[in-house]
Amino acid sequence: MLDLCLLAVIDEEPAYGYEMTKRLRERGLAFVGEGSIYPLLGRLERDGLVDTRRAASNGGPPRKYYQPSGAGRLALALGVSEWRAARDAVDAVLAPVTVEVAT
């Protein structure tokens, strides 16, 4: 699921590793650090789902920027579709649930 999130944030705008982490944290995904994004980025690169280029960052050293390749955008579209279907199915089960817990 995290690889889908990574593809989503770099589809908005190309980003380097730490920048992706910041974008995900801003949206509440603070668990990123538990698994580290670097192996995931490596896998996405190996599978041809991202294109990379090296460019200067804002006042810092040159960074490696990632953006989805054609295959990556297709994978993102399919993944989002599957996620929404799964989310709707779970919602259909959990939405009507009302539980009263005595404290």
């Binding site: 380097y16 730490y18 650090g33 538990e34 580290s36 670097y38 490596g42 190996r46 050293p61």
Partner: protein, 185 residues
């Protein structure tokens, strides 16, 4: 933080990651860690549990990126995949086939019927026995066939067959060996 990067670099070197690639990954990691530190984010927050195990972090990253082959558990080689066994089996088959050919030829020679009956003498190779006289028209011609089957061509045939089997086995073994996975770069 630089210590963490240095330990990663050492692990990549140990794993056989090429120097330019290791430099690139180390530079990217160092830049990210420095920026995180400037933002007040610790290595643990950025890398999670792997922050305490740089060797594991480096190996996982390199493996996922495909710059080193994934670790493989040693698998026992099957009986017929051992080159020495294959060679021994090929030689054994050759010897058995040679003996079968030799004794088979002897048996065929001894078991052949001593006489053959023909209605007409059509084959020029037939040889009348002394004193048999001229055959009368319409009567069968009785001749003694000398069934001397020569064993040499048959043995040569099986010899060639054995050599071909050994060569094919050797080529197949060499091909199997050359299929060892190599690390993509």
């Amino acid at each position: 933080m630089s210590d963490f990067v240095e330990q990663c670099r050492r692990e990549w070197k140990r794993l056989g990651v090429s120097d330019p690639l290791a430099d690139e990954m180390a530079a990217d990691l160092a830049s990210d860690l420095n920026e995180a530190e400037a933002d007040g984010v610790s290595v643990e927050e950025l890398l999670g549990r792997t922050a305490f195990d740089p060797a594991s972090f480096a190996a996982t990253w390199a493996t996922e990126r495909g710059v080193i082959p994934p670790p493989r558990s040693p698998q026992p080689r099957s009986f017929f995949r051992r080159p020495l066994t294959l060679g021994a089996v090929a030689v054994l088959v050759f010897v058995v086939l040679s003996f079968v050919a030799l004794f088979g030829t002897v048996l065929i020679t001894r078991a052949a019927p001593p006489t053959l009956a023909f209605r007409r003498a059509t084959a020029p190779s037939l040889r009348l026995l002394p004193g048999a006289g001229q055959p009368l028209p319409g009567q069968p011609l009785v001749v003694h066939a000398h069934t001397s089957v020569n064993a040499v061509p048959l043995l040569l045939f099986f010899l060639v067959l054995g050599i071909i089997a050994i060569v094919i086995t050797w080529l197949w073994t060499a091909r199997t060996r050359s299929r060892a996975p190599s690390a993509p770069v």
